[in-house]
């Protein structure tokens, strides 16, 4: 999946500059980097939530599923929230089972905890098959077991549909567990990319090394 070069500027300050980029089809690509490195901006531009600087820039894929960092729980039950994503009740039941949400199916989604809301939002997104899935820190507010279940679900979904996944994460352990490739963003620039193990073991750029050292890799 080819992404044409683009940039994003807020109030005269360029916060992200991405060169031409290839995302391996059917692979999970993790995006890592410090706070303010441009990870969320990358996700939002690719998802079509905000435009890049250049008019006429075309998104690599129109059939994009996107999970925002702070997902919205609609004022309805957990189950109905899931059915907004797709109409198949059996699939909703399956996803709720996988993420331990069955007991909360009829509860108002507004009453879910932060972690439960994150699980509901991921399940809601996975109700439909997209060609590109962009997940912005999907497990940030989940506990360990829930995060592992969510990672399993992402892998299963990728294997079943062959979709390409862009996973924005702060957890290098998660990136190692789930992703095939890693993109490292630093101060709005794509500094380094490569296969997950290779990049984590022997980063080429000093900034990448410093970031990985700080994260204890």
């Amino acid at each position: 999946m080819r992404i044409d070069a683009f940039s994003r500027t807020y109030e005269g300050r360029c916060v992200l500059r991405v060169p031409d980029l290839d995302l391996a089809d059917g692979a999970v690509t993790a995006v890592i980097g410090a706070n303010g490195s441009g990870k969320t901006t990358l996700a939002r531009v690719l998802a079509g939530v905000e435009p890049p600087d250049r008019r006429g820039w075309r998104r690599p894929e129109q059939d994009v599923g996107y999970l925002p960092q702070k997902p919205y729980a609609f004022r309805m039950s957990t189950e109905k929230n899931l059915l907004l994503g797709g109409k198949d009740p059996a699939r909703a039941a399956q996803l709720m089972e996988a993420l331990d949400l069955r007991a909360l199916a009829r509860q108002s989604a507004r009453r879910l905890s932060g972690g439960e809301t994150a699980k509901m939002a991921l399940a809601r997104l996975l109700m439909r098959d997209f060609k590109l899935l962009i997940l912005d820190e999907p497990t940030a507010s989940m506990d360990r077991d829930a995060a592992l279940a969510a990672e399993d679900l992402i892998r299963v979904c990728r294997d079943r549909t062959g979709c390409t996944v862009l996973l924005i994460t702060h957890s290098l352990r998660q990136a190692r567990r789930v992703s095939d490739r890693i993109l490292f963003l630093h101060k709005g620039k794509l500094l380094e990319q490569g296969p997950t193990e290779e990049l984590l073991r022997s980063p080429a750029q000093p900034e990448t090394k410093s970031f990985l050292d700080f994260c204890g890799v």
Partner: protein, 228 residues
């Protein structure tokens, strides 16, 4: 005060024909103008709060200015437009309930719009981002936004109705408080007070407050149900 309460009860129980006429005119005026204001103000508020477009800032300032428009200024404006020297004199709407409704709609719509704008601005960005992420189209997003704003819509309606039923400046100027035709509770209270009939004025005031209480209680119950 106790004699006024007694008078109010007597008025209600006796089903005084003039009182019933004033009540029905008040109900017709307040309900119609607040519903029209809601129908106009909700979409406008959702547009201002939920979308970013050129000229939005100017519209917001204009709306906030109109929210504070004194009712007598609104009344004067309509009086001039529809009186014998005004451009719309041939419509012969001055001193009719229809013009009173129109004047109230102009007064109340900005209040509904302002409230809906505030509510939508707090909800719309996160809702839009999530809905776009789910691949939902523009129409579906709008329906979801309206659904999510059900509670603020009721709040806006409560405000609109309260403003409509309590308003006196504009309706007095364009309606003229004509008995059996355009006299409403507020203008009738003013008339009775001016004539020195304080107890009847207070009695009407108490009935007005009771009406307002009933409508507000009913809508608040509905609002509570929506809130949960």
């Amino acid at each position: 005060m106790s004699s006024s309460i007694q008078k109010a009860i007597e008025l209600i129980l006796s089903a005084d024909r003039e009182l019933l006429n004033i009540l029905s005119t008040t109900a017709r005026l307040s309900l119609t103008s607040s519903v029209i204001a809601l129908l106009l103000g909700v979409p406008l508020g959702l547009l201002l709060g939920g979308c970013r477009f050129r000229g939005r800032g100017i519209l917001l300032v204009l709306n906030r200015t109109l929210m504070g428009m004194p009712p007598v200024v609104c009344g004067l404006l309509f009086y001039l437009l529809f009186s014998g020297v005004g451009p719309f004199r041939h419509m012969r709407l001055l001193f009719t309930v229809e013009l009173m409704i129109l004047a109230q709609v102009v007064l109340i719509t900005p209040i509904v719009t302002g409230n809906m704008e505030t509510a939508a601005a707090g909800i719309a960005p996160a809702l839009r981002e999530t809905a776009l992420g789910l691949g939902l189209g523009r129409g579906r997003r709008l329906l979801l936004l309206i659904r999510e704003c059900a509670y603020p819509i009721l709040t806006a309606y409560l405000l609109a109705f309260a403003r409509a039923i309590a308003e006196v400046g504009a309706v007095a100027m364009v309606g003229g408080a004509i008995a059996w035709k355009t006299n409403v509770m507020t203008t009738a209270i003013m008339q009775y007070t001016n004539r020195g009939n304080f107890s009847l004025g207070i009695a009407l005031g108490l009935i007005l407050m009771l009406l307002s209480l009933i409508v507000n209680a009913a809508l608040s119950l509905l609002q509570r149900r929506l809130g949960t």
